[in-house]
Amino acid sequence: MRRLAPILFLLCSSVAAQAQVRSVEVRTPRPFGYFLGDLVRAQVDIVVEPGFALQSASLPHPGAMAYWLDLRDIAVSDASVGDGRRVRLDLTYQNFYAALDARALEIPGFTVTFVSESDRGATTAKAQVPAWSFNISPLREVQPPARAEPQSYMRPDGRVAALDPQPLVLGGAGFAAMALVAFAGLAWDRTWWPFAGRGGRAFALCLRRLRTLFERPDPDAAYGEGLLALHRALDETDGRRVLADDLPTFLARHPAYRTEERGLAAFLDASRHTFFGSGPAAGTRLLAPSDLVSLTRRLAAIERAS
């Protein structure tokens, strides 16, 4: 009995080796009705014992299988079915056999190797995918009617259709219109031309006035005018007269201008000195004309942002 044990083990293992690949199945959409150049697809399902993995090197490689047959693509997917593993091969061939009559062609079978790695070593199992055949049909009759010009048997070269520029033109026009609207919005915000007369932008109008004023030859008069213009802008913003002592109230009502508190105070101070003190010279010492312009510019920016 002891002698028999190794033999029994061998028998069992050989039985096991046969059962490692449980089934091989080749499925095709149809085995007939193929023409020259058609794609021929096949699906091979191989069910193996769990633990066995496909050796990808044993798969057929895409490329020319024969002068009339290409293997274009081979896709492998894996799934577990019951207690086994199903390996599915999706094969895409291309037939280049120019048939004169309907006939059957055979796509050769191949062998796929599966490996199971364990700590005692690797076990390999081979699955034989059988050859299968499909019917191809000719594209033309065996003897086409004779023609004087042999080139007339050929199909024409084809033409390139003209491209359609309409979507691009429409897109361009649409974006140009949107840009125009956006420019109008910007002009409205900055009180540029056609919106120069719109209200609610007192400091912006004042800034424009200051710029024209300081281009004049008489600086003193321009300075006084500029101070007045900024006074008017302040009044318009507040909706009432803003006097020197009203500054805290003004800032409380319009907190956005609080950052320019020092500039506004200097302006009011310079205004007082100009109109009730020693004149524009004293005012310009307190607030130079360029500072007046930059103060107005900052005020206009706050006005736009608020």
């Binding site: 024969a66 055979e106 070269d157 691009l168 033109v169 974006f175 909706g239 109230t249 205004s271």
Partner: protein, 250 residues
């Protein structure tokens, strides 16, 4: 109407707005800040919605606030951005119109030179033009350019046109009774049809013309293939097509 008539008249003509009788003591109007404060002329949105307890309202308020702060810059950037996009569309449309003119000229038989950097449809139109004229040598670089651009479909159609040109040349030779140069031309044409079909398996014209070319080649005994009822492809034997394998002679 003129605001400024002279330096002397400035003060008299335009008294400062604060020039009340009391000078800077005139605080009568603005003297009630401690009492009832006038409502803001523009209710600030930055304060958030009336129900600040809700998180969604808070997020929305923050979003609105951020939008408000970014508004001046947004107003400047937006029209420029839109104008640039519109210009891009316009340039693309102009290029398409120019390409269409080139394609039309090539289709009408004018020999318009086309650079390898041209748009794929123009390259294909040039290939078809050259194929019609039978200038096969200039076609290959154009097809390579199409391949480099990843234009599988147009490259297949270009190869089909090239194969047609070669097949027509072969027909010309055959009509003159020149059998020797026709064979290689037909083989080349068949290879190009095959490559066209590999790129685009549903190119029926290529299938048809490959059938035409294949039947021509069958007439040449030199190129005759084994014809049986069943053909068996043997995966190990790749080089079945190489002729002239030495056969042992006694």
């Amino acid at each position: 109407m003129s605001r400024i008539t002279g330096p002397a008249s400035t003060r008299a003509a335009n008294p400062p707005p604060s020039a009340g009788e009391g000078g800077r003591g005139a605080t009568g109007r603005g003297s009630d800040p401690s009492g009832k404060r006038a409502p803001l002329s523009r209710p600030s949105l930055t304060r958030g919605p009336p129900s600040p307890a809700e998180g969604r309202g808070k997020v929305r308020a923050r979003l609105v606030g951020a939008l408000r702060r970014a508004r001046p810059r947004l107003l400047v950037v937006l029209p420029i951005l839109l104008l640039l996009i519109a210009l891009g569309f316009g340039a693309a449309a102009w290029r398409v119109a120019r390409d269409n003119a080139t394609i039309a000229a090539l289709a009408s038989g004018k020999d318009v030179p086309v650079s390898l950097a041209a748009a794929p449809p123009v390259l294909l139109a040039r290939v078809q033009h050259l194929a019609r004229r039978g200038v096969v040598e200039e076609i290959e670089p154009l097809i390579e350019a199409l391949d480099r651009l990843g234009e599988t479909d147009r490259s297949a159609r270009a190869r089909y046109a090239l194969a047609n040109a070669r097949l027509r040349q072969a027909f010309d030779h055959l009509e003159r009774g020149d059998l020797d140069p026709a064979g290689p031309l037909i083989t080349l044409a068949r290879q190009d049809y095959r490559r066209a079909l590999q790129g685009r398996p549903d190119l029926w014209d290529a299938k048809f013309n490959l059938d035409v070319a294949s039947r021509l080649l069958r007439d040449f005994p030199e190129f005759d293939r084994k014809t049986g009822d069943e053909l068996k492809a043997e995966p190990k034997k790749i080089w079945t097509e190489i002729p002239g394998q030495p056969r042992g002679e006694p």
